[in-house]
């Protein structure tokens, strides 16, 4: 048992850190620090910088562009990327549909899609949730009927993140309504430019428009866009949902946000000539979160280490703990980031291109309350915290 990084791991961290320092465009870094909206061009630009360095898809097999890193290296890479802070690569391609295509796709699919995902030539989005199926995903209703050499798709998806930018969507569709609900589902890749697709933005309470409804009205999808076998879509979805593990805790993100919080607390007046950082209660509130975060980081390293030992090939229910605690911590930090500016959390300052009014209060105040509102989603999406508790109760505690 030796919880220190090896010299090789430390050297690797230095290399990664240096790369992020040098390669991350300052305009993107600034937006990340300020918690402002990134546009499509930012995310594409950064993904291509990573791809040029060969670091776009570290987790993939080497033959498809992966790096062959150890779990610890991957952990270091992710942690440093979050702390840079750099945008996460678009997960729908890199972490979701990519691994599914690698595991279950045809050779043609692999050759066509994988390089395009690496370089974000295709922007992917995810078509799983439907209005009637949230936690109960398998009850989905969008149907795909095989007609000759194509499928005819009808139905509706929702909560589709960044669909407004998307070139492709991977969907769970019902190809057989006559069997058990999990068994009639297939996994389809659909071109977003197909006739019959309509995207309607869902504005969230913070004023952002990052999620959408996607409607399918007699959309024709070539049969070759089926991944793997018809009726096996549910298995592929489970594979996909279990694929991402340790990143889910977003420890690096929380570290970076706490740094930011302390920076702001040193600036923000507390009344009476004092600063927020001088307030013992506020300092202790931060410290209490730091303690939980340090514990979570260690918990995450334990999962990474177990993975390195190859002891855990299938989805580790420990990732549910990372999700539970990770979301609580991120939300708690977002609360303090709103609290730190006191009354100046109230002014609404649009986070839009072209908005160039002088800031109200401090220039950093604008995104803080909206981010607090927006981050309530963290305990809802990707399997709500209630679902995570159900998983742990069953899979770990045997209840």
């Amino acid at each position: 048992m030796d919880l220190r990084f090896t010299p090789e791991e430390i050297a690797f961290r230095e290399e990664v850190r240096r790369f992020f320092r040098e390669a991350l465009p300052e305009s993107i870094r600034r937006k990340m620090v300020d918690g402002r909206h990134l546009d499509k061009a930012d995310i594409v630009a950064w993904q291509r910088i990573l791809n040029a360095r060969g670091w776009a898809v570290p987790d993939w097999p080497v033959e498809w562009g992966g790096t062959g890193w150890t779990p610890v290296q991957r952990y270091i890479f992710q942690e440093e990327m979050q702390q840079a802070p750099a945008p996460q690569p678009l997960g729908f391609g890199v972490n979701m549909v990519g691994p599914v295509i690698i595991a279950f796709g045809s050779e043609a699919q692999k050759r066509h899609y994988l390089p395009r995902i690496r370089n974000i030539d295709d922007w992917w989005c995810q078509g799983f949730s439907e209005p009637g199926s949230g936690s109960d995903l398998a009850s989905l209703k969008t149907r795909a009927e095989r007609v000759g050499d194509h499928y005819l798709v009808n139905g509706q998806k929702t909560w589709t993140t960044l669909a407004q930018h998307a070139d492709m969507i991977f969907c769970l569709v019902r190809t057989n309504p006559r069997v058990k609900k999990q068994e009639g589902i297939s996994f389809l890749l659909i071109d977003m430019k197909s006739p019959g697709i309509t995207v309607r933005p869902i504005v969230t309470m913070d004023g952002g428009a990052e999620v959408n409804e996607v409607f399918f009205d007699d959309v024709e999808v070539p049969a070759e866009n089926l991944v793997g076998e018809e009726g096996k879509g549910w298995d592929y979805a489970k594979f996909l949902l279990g694929h991402e593990r340790t990143g889910i805790a977003r420890v690096g993100v929380s570290k970076q946000r706490i740094r930011r919080l302390k920076e702001l607390a040193a600036l923000e007046p507390a009344g009476g000539g004092r600063r927020m950082i001088d307030d013992r209660r506020f300092r202790e509130k931060i410290a209490a979160i730091e303690v939980e975060l340090k514990a979570l980081e260690m918990t995450q390293l334990r999962v990474v280490s177990a993975e390195r030992q190859g002891r855990s090939k299938k989805p580790d229910p420990a990732s549910s703990i990372l999700k539970l605690k990770g979301s609580e911590i991120q939300q708690a930090v977002s609360e303090l980031l709103m609290e730190v500016v006191g009354p100046y959390a109230m002014p609404y300052q649009p986070d839009e291109e072209g908005w160039n009014e002088p800031p109200i209060g401090a220039d950093y105040a604008g995104p803080l309350a909206p981010t607090y509102f927006n981050w309530r989603k963290i305990s809802i999406y990707g399997g709500s915290n209630e679902i995570q508790r159900n998983i742990v109760a069953k899979a770990i505690l045997g209840l």
């Binding site: 999620v211 009476g272 959390a345 109200i360 209630e386």
Partner: protein, 384 residues
């Protein structure tokens, strides 16, 4: 001891609830927010007709002689409707300051105008460096040659400051930058030379303003209340404001809780209503307990809002603000969580309650601020 409403109070409550139900559904509210002032002048006129704008004022001043209980009933209904109009700024704070500290002439000039819906006020007490400290006043009013004052400084996050006809401004007339003594209140015309108002929407859909005063000349009659000893008056008005937003928060929480219970009963997953899951049931109960605790403290705040004993009044109002803040945060966050994705959307009312509740916590000082005040004042129970 009696928690019952009088017949008149019941009628008032029913009338306001009906008004909110009829004139303040979700779509109408959205339309009102798009109007130039950020609220509905038509509704404001209706409030005047119904006597709501004169509620706390004596009949001699064109009011109806209500008590804080009547204000509580209105604010609770307004909380349910997420009402946008500047009732708090104009009637509760502005009107309250005039009643508590105004000269007979000031009262006679302005109070009837408020009641008629023809005068709107805003209370400009906050400053950028002060956070929630009412005594941290850097704005100055220096005595002018030949009587009157010259006002200079800046006030921030002034609730409905952009639609007010007149502003009531705290300024330092004596003493060091953060002393309790040496603060006076002034009535300032929003159109006066040297006054710059920058209005903006707040994240909960209401309006506020940053206001700068550059050598604004005020006559001697602009002074509201005692010279140099105005902080007590400001605090009394803030306490009225705390009681009012406590009731508003209870209204919002109560509506949000009902919305959540309805959702639990109707939303189906895995073939059953999600309200059949015990973990969610127990969460809903904990939310209900938080709501009832907040409601109790709203009653207490109402009862204590005009208490003469300043120490008792301040600590009970601070206690109420703590409870409101804590309950609102817990209930609001859980309501969004239990709704899942739909609770996150702009198209659904839950998120708007959530945002308003979050902003009520920052109004007049957040829960941590008031907890510190309670603790500093020795707490609510005397030692043995």
């Amino acid at each position: 001891m009696d928690f019952d409403l009088t017949e008149e109070q019941r009628l008032l409550r029913d009338a306001v609830e009906r008004l909110v139900a009829e004139e303040y559904d979700f779509d109408k509210r959205k339309a009102y927010a798009q109007e130039p002032a950020g609220f509905s002048p038509a509704r404001w006129a209706q409030y005047a007709e119904l006597g709501l704008l004169g509620l706390p004022f004596p009949e001699a001043l064109g009011g109806v002689g209500g008590t804080p209980v009547e204000t509580m009933l209105v604010m609770e209904a307004f909380g349910r409707g997420l009402v946008l109009e500047p009732y708090l700024a104009t009637v509760v704070l502005g009107g309250g300051l005039l009643l508590l500290g105004g000269s007979a002439a000031q009262q006679q000039e302005m109070v009837p105008e408020i009641a008629r819906g023809r005068l709107r006020l805003a209370f400009a007490f906050g400053e950028r460096q002060a956070r929630y400290d009412l005594a941290d006043v850097a704005t100055t009013a220096t005595a002018a040659a030949g009587g009157g004052f010259v006002l200079s400084g800046a006030k921030g996050v002034v609730l409905h400051g952009d639609s007010a006809d007149r502003l009531i401004v705290t300024a330092r007339t004596a003493g060091g930058p953060r002393e309790r003594e040496g603060i006076s209140l002034f009535l300032v015309d929003a159109q006066a030379a040297g006054v710059t108002v920058r209005g903006y929407p707040t994240v909960d859909g209401l309006r506020a303003a940053e206001i700068a005063f550059r050598e604004v000349r005020l006559g001697p009659e602009a002074l509201l209340g005692p010279r140099d000893h105005g902080l007590d008056l400001a605090e009394r008005a803030i306490d009225l404001g705390i009681a009012a937003v406590a009731a508003e928060a209870v209204g919002a929480m109560s509506a949000l809780h009902e919305l959540t219970i309805d959702y639990l009963k109707t939303r189906k997953q895995f073939g059953v209503a999600i309200g059949s899951f015990q973990a969610l049931q127990h969460r809903a109960v904990d939310m209900f307990v938080a709501l009832e605790q907040a409601r109790s403290m709203s009653y207490l705040a109402t009862m204590m809002a005009e208490a003469e004993d300043a120490l008792q009044r301040r600590r009970m109002l601070s206690a109420a603000k703590v409870q409101i803040g804590r309950s609102a945060r817990f209930l609001g966050q859980q309501a969004i969580q239990l709704h899942g994705g739909v609770g996150m959307t702009m198209e659904y009312k839950a998120g708007h309650y959530f945002k308003r509740l979050a902003m009520i916590d920052t109004l007049f000082g957040d829960a941590d601020h008031h907890l510190a005040l309670v603790a500093e004042s020795g707490g609510l129970i005397d030692a043995a």
